[in-house]
Symmetry: C2
DNA sequence: TTGAAAGCGCTAACAA
DNA sequence: TTGTTAGCGCTTTCAA
């Protein structure tokens, strides 16, 4: 149990004062080149690393935190990838706080980050109360990812879910579909006006259906693929089977694809479209049409907003990233007997 | 920017001393029920949360850290799920440090955790030098996940990769396969004697082939599905095409499945077996035979080891978790014209 | 340009 | 059972 070197050890080794060392490691103003060299040499010899806890006591941690609901959802991996990319070379470290599910767990994960006094938080939990976030953002910069509600306290980065949903609906409608079901999460996650991505997708879906004089059909499910699969199995076994399913995200879409297969049907008979364009969607055995909402870009932007807050920005910024529809086999068929319209150009 | 409540505020509010509050929040010995009640009431009123940094200065953080290479690999989600489950209700928080790839990034992520003085670390990086880990474990408890090399400094939790590989080879050989290729990562990750999972799987594969008088065929690739797909495409385009591919993990197996499809072949012609049994492996459109090495269990065990170290254990413990082969369609066919042997019992 | 010293919030040893 | 107090390693103000 060798005691780690402290700033005092370095000062002694270099023959200078503690504050001199502090200035060097913080790149602060007022150190001669010679002193800097001496100090850096001592740091190297002692393999010194400043204690984050001690720095935190004075208000800095050089750490950003990102809170993830459902760490198993590959869309969030994209976000983390983007965040890490934006952070590389800044000397700032990234920690992730995973949540299980629901508002309570999201809160816990956010508290884990807040307790560690990170210099900024990227939050993805759609269920945490805005007032709570507002409060949190009074203590450290916060970027809310995905949710459309705005606040003067924290910044937001969202995909344009209305546009993404429009892309999906235009695509399905232009293929001739009229019985389009929407597979989405529980009421809690889609409460009207809550501003969650799923709430927006649902509302815009319903609007498009209404505008065309079609009957909306909403199927609720939990967040897992298995639950989605069961829900869609029930849907397919019921009356007025849909010809297309628009799933609120790719995890649900994979469940839908599973149920379609289980029912002895194929995507030539029932089109399935997802949302997020996770990696597996492009796998040839899946070939799921999906909306790419640029998760890597979102993660990158979120971190940039955090860094600019740290640099002094005080006005709230709200960014929307444009989604793109990736057409694949799962929705390739035109309804009405005009043959297949498989577009494989984006396959793989 | 409202200042958060401190232990002094709570003491004042409750009309007791600072140390009394400290004892209550630490559940320490020597507080009357009445004092505990008063303090807890004050804590509630002020919404007090102890600063982790200040506690860290005195040696405790009530935080465990888990370092993940490749956060996009769904096997690691299982590990995190298990770790969170083991931690729920303990009052200990979990943070995740994601690494990008390679030894250097793994080191960085481990340093991120060490810098935060977590009370224990679950490390998954297969490439970090044992001496470095040994050193780290002198400062805080470390559990190495997956790697088979042992140390008196840190505990290990591994899958039994020799047994898992045996299950795969027995399965493929019993189906009549003789030209079995092994798809694995770069030499760096499979260095003989390094004790990485991939090194063990490779060595045991080669041994099984040798023992049967068969020629081993090893295909190297990067860690991504796309790279695996390209590598397998080259393999299939070359001479002596294999009849079966044993992939070192499911990500590589998915790439192999993609390449098989691209080549206009099916898994009736080329069997594919993976390792990890990630969730998508059981999807009907994929139906990948794979070795389930119980990632959730591994994560749970790892955290338990950390907690028992914290409770005073000093002797090193090395656990191996038994793997199970999940047979699915991707390897269902018997070679030699005896018809299909599809086992769907574990499908879905 | 350099150094001395106060103090961040907490824990733990000790005194009462 | 309760309270007093020293001190963890760092940053930052201020003086030299």
């Amino acid at each position: 149990m060798n005691r780690a070197a402290t700033i005092n050890d370095v000062a002694r080794e270099a023959g200078v004062s503690r504050s001199a060392v502090s200035k060097v490691i913080r790149d602060a103003y007022g150190v001669s080149d010679e002193m800097r060299a001496r100090v850096n040499a001592a740091i190297g010899r002692l393999d010194y690393r400043p204690r984050v806890a001690a720095r935190a006591m004075r208000g800095v941690t050089d750490t950003l935190g990102i809170e993830l609901p459902d760490i198993g959802n590959p869309f969030f991996d994209k976000v983390v990838t983007g965040a890490m990319a934006a952070l590389s070379g800044t000397g700032c470290q990234l920690i992730v706080a995973p949540a299980s599910a629901g508002a309570e767990e999201g809160l816990q994960a956010l508290r884990t980050l807040a307790d560690r006094e990170v210099d900024g938080i990227v939050a993805i939990s759609p269920l945490v109360a805005p007032t709570w976030l507002e409060d949190l953002s009074g203590r450290m910069p916060v970027v809310m990812l995905g949710r459309h509600d705005r606040s003067i306290g924290y910044d937001t980065v969202t995909g344009d879910d209305a546009e993404g949903t429009r892309l999906v609906m235009d695509h399905l409608l232009s293929l001739g579909h009229e019985r389009i079901a929407h597979l989405t999460r529980s009421e809690e996650v889609t409460a009207p006006g809550s501003g969650t991505p799923h709430a927006v997708r649902l509302a815009v879906y319903e609007e498009h259906m209404r505008r065309r004089g079609l009957t909306a059909s909403v199927v609720r499910t939990g967040r897992s693929e298995a639950e989605a699969r069961e829900a869609v199995a029930r849907l397919l076994g019921g009356p007025r089977r849909p010809t297309a399913i628009f799933a609120g995200n790719d995890t649900l879409a994979l469940g839908a694809l599973g149920a379609v297969g289980d029912a002895g049907l194929s995507t030539r008979e029932i089109s399935v479209v997802g949302y997020d364009d996770v990696e597996i969607a492009s796998h040839p055995a899946i070939s799921l049409t999906s909306v790419d909402q640029a998760g890597v870009e979102m993660g990158r932007r979120a971190v940039e907003l955090l860094l600019s807050r740290r640099a002094g920005r005080t006005d709230a910024v709200h960014l929307a990233v444009m989604p793109v529809l990736r057409r694949r086999r799962s929705s390739g068929r035109r309804i009405g007997g005009h043959g297949e319209l498989v577009d494989r150009s984006t396959d793989g």
